[in-house]
């Protein structure tokens, strides 16, 4: 699935950096009904993780009240150059990944 990641390309060692992620997902709550009364089954992202060179730096659990195409913004400390890996896990075996690299001077 499409994802948009915003990580600064460069940072100074020790800087607090903001990471912004946006991913496409319908986030169907499981509380809605179709016009003929059938319940629309829940289909949401349940968990998000961010790993910085393999170390988990941020994790979030997501719930039915969260809007479609969830946008998450969080902070971490720039320690070393490398790769940030993002993973979204959800209902019906949903899994999506993305990554971004950062240069720390």
């Amino acid at each position: 699935m499409a994802a948009l990641i915003n990580v600064p390309a460069k940072a100074k060692r020790g800087d607090v950096i903001e990471i912004r992620t946006l991913t496409s997902h319908i986030m169907e709550t499981g509380f809605r009904h179709t016009a003929d009364g059938a319940l629309v089954p829940r289909d949401i992202i349940t968990s998000f993780t961010c790993r910085y060179n393999g170390t988990e730096v941020f994790r979030a659990d997501l719930f039915p009240a969260i809007a479609a195409n969830p946008y998450l913004s969080f902070f971490t400390v720039a320690k070393e150059s490398g790769k940030l890996e993002f993973e979204w896990i959800g209902d019906n075996g949903y899994s999506s990944t993305a990554s971004a690299s950062i240069t720390v001077e």
Binding site: I5, L22, T23, S24, A67
Partner: protein, 259 residues
């Protein structure tokens, strides 16, 4: 005599403001963007927080994907959309000589699929159609709208204008009653805009997804308790054409974000 002249002059003066209120002068035309709060503006301005860009990304992938029985991708004929599609959406709906009527960008994509790709038409408001039209229209971001300039479109622009001015529904309201006469005021707490179609298809937070101008027009019609025209109906195309010609000169914003 002087008395009657005075009455005639007074009548004219009284009638003049009502006539002026009808249409918005070109220099007073404003995108819906200017009616939004700072948070929603920030969301549209940053391409990594604008959810419409997710659809543009999907559209970019579809642009290069071979489909249909002729096994051609959009890119096989049109090449790099960044140059070939620049400014195209600012001219749509455009006159189609074969059909002898205006077609919208969505209809053009489906005509291309039918005639050149031998692929089935994508349903209105389907994710793939919205993604493709968002990707194509995104190439025109910043380009001034010129739709409706084609002289062959004149009767269709006039039809759209008539529909815009015509009262309808149980509330007996015309588009013009809100969007020409009362913009900048509020309706149930939400700002009334001028209804300038600068950013379609756009991401509406209320919809939680991207939607076409036809979806927006249909929800306005439902709002005044009128029977909405079907997707692709000639009336909706004429309305879209009139709205685009009314927004002449405003820059395209696709994909816009609206509350």
């Amino acid at each position: 005599m002087i008395f009657w002249h005075a009455i005639a002059a007074a009548t004219l003066l009284a009638a003049a403001p009502a006539l002026l209120a009808g249409e918005i002068p070109p220099d007073a035309r404003r995108s819906g963007y200017s009616f939004m709060g700072p948070d929603t503006r920030a969301m549209q301005d940053d391409d990594t927080s604008n959810p419409g860009m997710l659809f543009v990304l999907d559209g970019e992938a579809l642009w290069a994907k071979k489909t249909g029985s002729s096994d051609k991708a959009c890119a096989d004929c049109h090449g790099d959309a960044r140059s070939s599609m620049k400014g195209v959406a600012a001219r749509y709906p455009a006159f189609d000589k074969v059909l002898a009527r205006p077609v919208t960008l969505d209809q053009r994509i489906n005509l291309c699929r039918a005639n050149h790709q031998q692929a089935p038409a994508l349903p209105y408001e389907s994710g793939d159609l919205l993604a493709l039209s968002a990707f194509v229209a995104h190439q025109s971001r910043g380009v001034a709208i010129t739709a409706g300039d084609d002289p062959e479109l004149k009767p269709f622009v006039a039809q759209g204008r008539d529909l815009f001015m015509q009262r309808e529904g149980q509330l007996n309201l015309a588009c013009t009653n809100c969007h020409d006469d009362n913009f900048d005021k509020r309706l149930a707490g939400a700002p009334i805009t001028q209804g300038q179609p600068t950013g379609y298809p756009l991401y509406r937070l209320e919809w939680q997804t991207l939607g076409s101008i036809e979806r927006r027009l249909r929800s306005c019609m439902t709002g005044v308790r009128a029977q909405a025209y079907d997707y692709g109906a000639p009336e909706l195309v004429a309305l879209e054409l009139y709205l685009m010609s009314r927004a002449r000169g405003l820059p395209m914003e696709t994909p816009a974000v609206r509350p």
